[in-house]
Symmetry: C2
Subunit: 469 residues, 2 copies
C-alpha cells in the first residue's frame, strides 16, 4: 500500500479520489443499496464528466476495499456491509478486523500530505547502494535463489547479528537464540500464535501499535491496558496488573514508543524485568526505531537485564534501512525459540535467503552507520518543522527524542475522527487516536508521522490541517 | 534446512553425523539424563578422538534439535524431552508439532543419498539468468527496496498472473482475485487461519502433505481422511463424508498429488465441484507441481469448474522456478479474498516487493518455458532411473505421470520407520509413510523423492537402500 503513495499520480490524483469518495458517499446515504447493480464505467464516466479510466480505477479501488463486488461479466454491485464478518471468518473477532480495515483504508487512500503512515520517505533510504550489494550476493552465492534458507534464518546473518548485539548492547545471545523473520510484524504474529491461547490475558501499553492489538484479539486474548507517559510506566500499576490479571505476556514498545515517541527510562527497565520474573509474565520488547534518536542513544533493550528467559526482544531494521527487504530478528531463550522455529516453518518455511544475504552485506558495511547519521539529521529537521508549524494549533504534545511520530492531544471533547474527515477534503491523512487505543477510545488524540512527507509538504499540510480545526 | 543439504560437507560429513547420532543414542538409552550437564567440547572431542569443531557443531545441531540446552556460560545440558509440549505452547496440539519436528529432523540431517525432501536439485534451476533479472529490476525500480509492496501483492505481477491463468487454463480471475503469498506454505497457513476454527472438520486426502496436517491440527481442527488412488477419489465416499461430517473445507492436492503423484481425472473434477457446492464445503486445490508432467498436460485446475466461489486455488511456482524467491499465488472470490488480505497484512504486511518483481520479469520471459521443458526431461530421467533400480526391490508403486515423488508400498507388515533407521546408517534419507498420513499409520509405505539427488546418487542410493530391507 505504501507503493501506492509513491505512485499516487498514477491513479489520477484528486479527481480519482473525488470519484471514489463520491461513490462511497452514495452508498453510505443509501442511494446505492447492497446488491444494487451499479452503472457501467462508460455511463458513470459520462455522468461525472471524467475519463472512463478514472471511473474504472475507482471501481477497482472500491472492489479492493470490499465496497463493491463483481458478478461474472455482468457488472459491479454494491457489497453488503457487514456480511463479511459473518460468513466463514472463523474465530476472528470482528473488532480487530474492522479496526484494521479502517487503518488500511486510511493508508490506502492517496494523500498529498501523508502523515498517516509511519514509514520513511524512500528518498531518505540508501537505494543506490543496494544494487551493488545485490550484485555481490549473486557473485558470492550464485545459487541463492535455488535454495531455501534455514528456517531459523541464514546462519551467516544470525552470526553477524549475534556479534552486533554483543558489541552494541552487550546482549549475550548466540546465533541459535536468534530467529530471522519477515519484518517485525511477522515476529509479533509468531509470538502471538505460540504464546497466546483464547482467553489468555495480554498486557499492552495504552496507546499502542494497532496491528498488535488486532493480532492478539484475533487469537482470542483479553487485553489489559497499561498507561505509558513521557516518564514511562507507573510501575505500581504494572505490578498490580501483573498480580491481579496474571497476564501471559506484556507486549511493549519501550523505546521511541509508537505512537507517542516516549522511551521507558533506564531505571525502570531493570525493575520491569524483576516484576515480570516475579509474576511469571513474559515481556515482549518490540523495538523497531532504536537507531532513530535525536538526543543521546536510548537506554539498553530490556533483554540486557534478563537472566531467566523472561524477555523476548524483537529488533526491526526494515523501517529505516530497507522496508522492501522485510528483515527483523527475534531473540529469546529455549525452549521458546524452538517453538518459534516450528511456527515459522509452518507459516512460510523461512524468510527468503536472497533478502537475508542482501541485508547481511549492507548491515556489515560502514555505509549503515553513515546512512543512519544522515537519516537522523533529516528526520530531526522534519520533526522540528512539524513542531514549528503545529505551534500555532493550540494542540499539545510531548516532543519525542526519537522515532517517527508526534502524538497530539487535540483538546478535551475534540474528535480526531471528525478532524480527519475534514482533513481528507484537503488531501491530508493521519491516524486518529482511537486506532492506537486497545480500548478504542482516545478520540481526542491523533498520531502524525513526520517521516514520509518532505519539509515543504509538512509546512503546507500542517497549515492546512490547522485550518480544519 | 535445504541449504544444509547443499553444504553438507561443511558440517564434516559422516564423522559429524556419527557424533550427533552417537550423542542422541546416549541420551536415548539414559546414559545422559534430562538436565544432566554434558561434557565440554574439549573433553568429548578427546573421548571420541575427533576434532573439537566437529563436537562443537554436533552440540549446535543438538541444541537446534532441542535435544540439549545451554545455561549461561556454564555449558551444555540434556533437554528434558516432552517438557516443551507443556510449557506455554498455547493451544498447540502436540501431535502435529511432534510430527513436524520428526520431518524437520529427517530433513536436517545430512545424507549422501537425499530422497527425503521434495525439492529440486539446485543444479537444475535457472540460476544464471536470475542475476540478469535482478539487475533489470533495480534499473526499472530503483527504489524497490525502499518500498513496501501492496499487501495483496504487486499489481503488475497480479495482472501478469491473471492474464496467464486466462491464457493457460481459461480461469477467469481478475488481479483483485489474486493474492501473492510467500510460498504455498503461507497460502495454506492464511487459509487455515481465516477459515478454520477449533472443532471444525477438515477433509484431507490420505496420504497428504504433512505440514498441512500440522497446520490444521494447530488450529484445532478435526480431520476426516479421504482415500486417494491412481484413479482419484471414490466420489461416493467424498459425497458421504461431506454429507455426514459437514466439513468446512476439503484440502486437496489433485494434480501430481504429494506424496503419491496421482492426478484426479478430469471427469471427477467437475463432479467434485458440484458435490462441494451441494454440501457447502470449500475446496482448496493446492497445486505446486502443475508444470512437472511427463506425459500429457494434467487436467485443468478445479477452479475452472467453479462458478459459485467454492474453489480456492493455490498455485505455487517456487519449487520448480526459484525456491529462494518464495512466490505463490492464491486465487479466490470475494468476500474470502478480503479476509485473506487482512490476514496477510497482519501476518507479514506483504511479500517483499523485490522478490515479486524478480519473479515477474522471469515469469514473463521465454526462458520460463525453455527452463520447464528441460526440467521435465531431467526429472523424468531421474524418475526412470529410480524406478529402474527399484525394480529389484520387490516393492510396489504406481508410476506417476508427474511431480517429484514415488510412493512405495514396502509390503504388509514391513515398517518404513525401521527401514529408515537402517538406511540412515548408509546415509540415505526418505520420508516414512506415517508422516504423510493424517491418521499417523501407513507405516508400510515410504515417499522417495527423485528430484534432488543426481542419477549416479539415485543408482547407488537405491541399491544401498534395497540392501537395508
Amino acid at each position: 500500500m505504501k507503493q501506492d503513495s509513491v505512485s499516487a499520480g498514477m491513479n489520477g490524483g484528486k479527481r480519482f479520489e473525488q470519484v471514489v469518495s463520491g461513490m462511497q458517499a452514495r452508498m453510505a446515504r443509501g442511494e446505492w443499496k447492497p446488491h444494487d447493480k451499479l452503472p457501467s464505467v462508460r455511463m458513470l464516466a459520462a455522468e461525472l464528466g471524467c475519463h472512463r479510466l478514472t471511473v474504472f480505477r475507482a471501481y477497482q479501488e472500491l472492489k479492493h476495499l470490499g465496497k463493491v463486488y463483481v458478478k461474472d461479466k455482468s457488472g459491479y454491485y454494491v457489497h453488503p456491509g457487514g456480511v463479511m464478518e459473518e460468513s466463514g471468518s472463523g474465530g476472528i473477532r470482528s473488532l480487530g478486523y474492522r479496526a484494521r480495515n479502517r487503518l488500511s483504508e486510511i493508508h490506502r487512500l492517496p494523500a498529498d500530505y501523508q502523515f498517516s503512515e509511519a514509514v520513511i520517505d524512500p528518498g531518505l533510504l540508501p537505494n543506490m547502494y543496494f544494487s551493488d550489494y545485490v550484485k555481490k550476493v549473486f557473485d558470492l552465492y550464485p545459487r541463492v535463489l535455488a535454495t531455501y534458507a534455514h528456517v531459523q534464518g541464514d546462519e551467516e546473518l544470525r552470526e553477524s547479528l549475534s556479534r552486533y548485539l554483543v558489541r552494541r548492547h552487550r546482549l549475550h545471545v548466540s546465533p541459535g537464540e536468534l530467529l530471522i523473520t519477515s519484518g517485525a510484524q511477522q515476529a509479533i504474529d509468531l509470538l502471538c500464535r505460540v504464546l497466546v491461547r483464547p482467553l489468555d490475558t495480554v498486557m499492552m501499553e495504552r496507546p499502542t501499535y494497532s496491528s498488535a492489538v488486532d493480532l492478539f484479539l484475533q487469537q482470542g486474548a483479553r487485553i489489559v491496558p497499561v498507561d505509558i507517559g513521557p516518564d514511562g510506566y507507573n510501575l505500581e500499576q504494572v505490578d498490580w496488573c501483573m498480580a491481579h490479571h496474571k497476564p501471559r505476556l506484556f507486549y511493549m514498545n519501550p523505546t521511541f514508543h509508537n505512537p507517542t515517541g516516549y522511551s521507558v527510562p533506564e531505571e525502570q527497565r531493570k525493575r520491569l524485568v524483576e516484576l515480570a520474573e516475579k509474576h511469571g509474565c513474559l515481556l515482549i520488547d518490540d523495538d523497531t526505531s532504536y537507531d532513530i534518536y535525536f538526543g543521546g542513544q536510548p537506554p539498553k533493550p530490556l533483554f540486557a537485564y534478563d537472566t531467566e528467559g523472561t524477555v523476548v526482544y524483537i529488533r526491526g531494521f526494515s523501517k529505516y534501512v530497507s522496508p522492501g527487504l522485510r528483515i527483523a530478528v527475534v531473540s529469546c531463550r529455549q525452549p521458546l525459540m524452538e517453538q518459534l522455529v516450528t511456527a515459522k516453518s509452518l507459516t512460510d518455511n523461512g524468510t527468503p535467503l536472497l533478502n537475508q544475504k542482501i541485508f547481511l552485506h549492507y548491515f556489515g558495511s560502514d555505509r549503515l552507520q553513515q546512512h543512519l547519521e544522515k537519516l537522523r539529521i533529516a528526520l530531526q529537521i522534519r520533526k522540528d518543522v512539524m513542531e514549528e508549524e503545529l505551534a500555532a494549533s493550540g494542540w499539545s504534545w510531548t516532543s519525542p527524542q526519537g522515532g517517527l511520530n508526534l502524538w497530539i492531544h487535540l483538546g478535551e471533547g475534540v474528535s480526531s475522527e471528525q478532524l480527519l474527515e475534514k482533513a481528507r477534503q484537503r488531501s491530508i491523512s493521519f491516524i486518529p487516536g482511537i486506532l492506537c487505543d486497545p480500548m478504542r477510545k482516545l478520540d481526542s488524540w491523533a498520531r502524525l508521522s513526520y517521516s514520509y512527507a518532505n519539509e515543504q509538504q509538512i509546512r503546507e499540510g500542517i497549515r492546512n490541517l490547522i485550518r480544519c480545526r
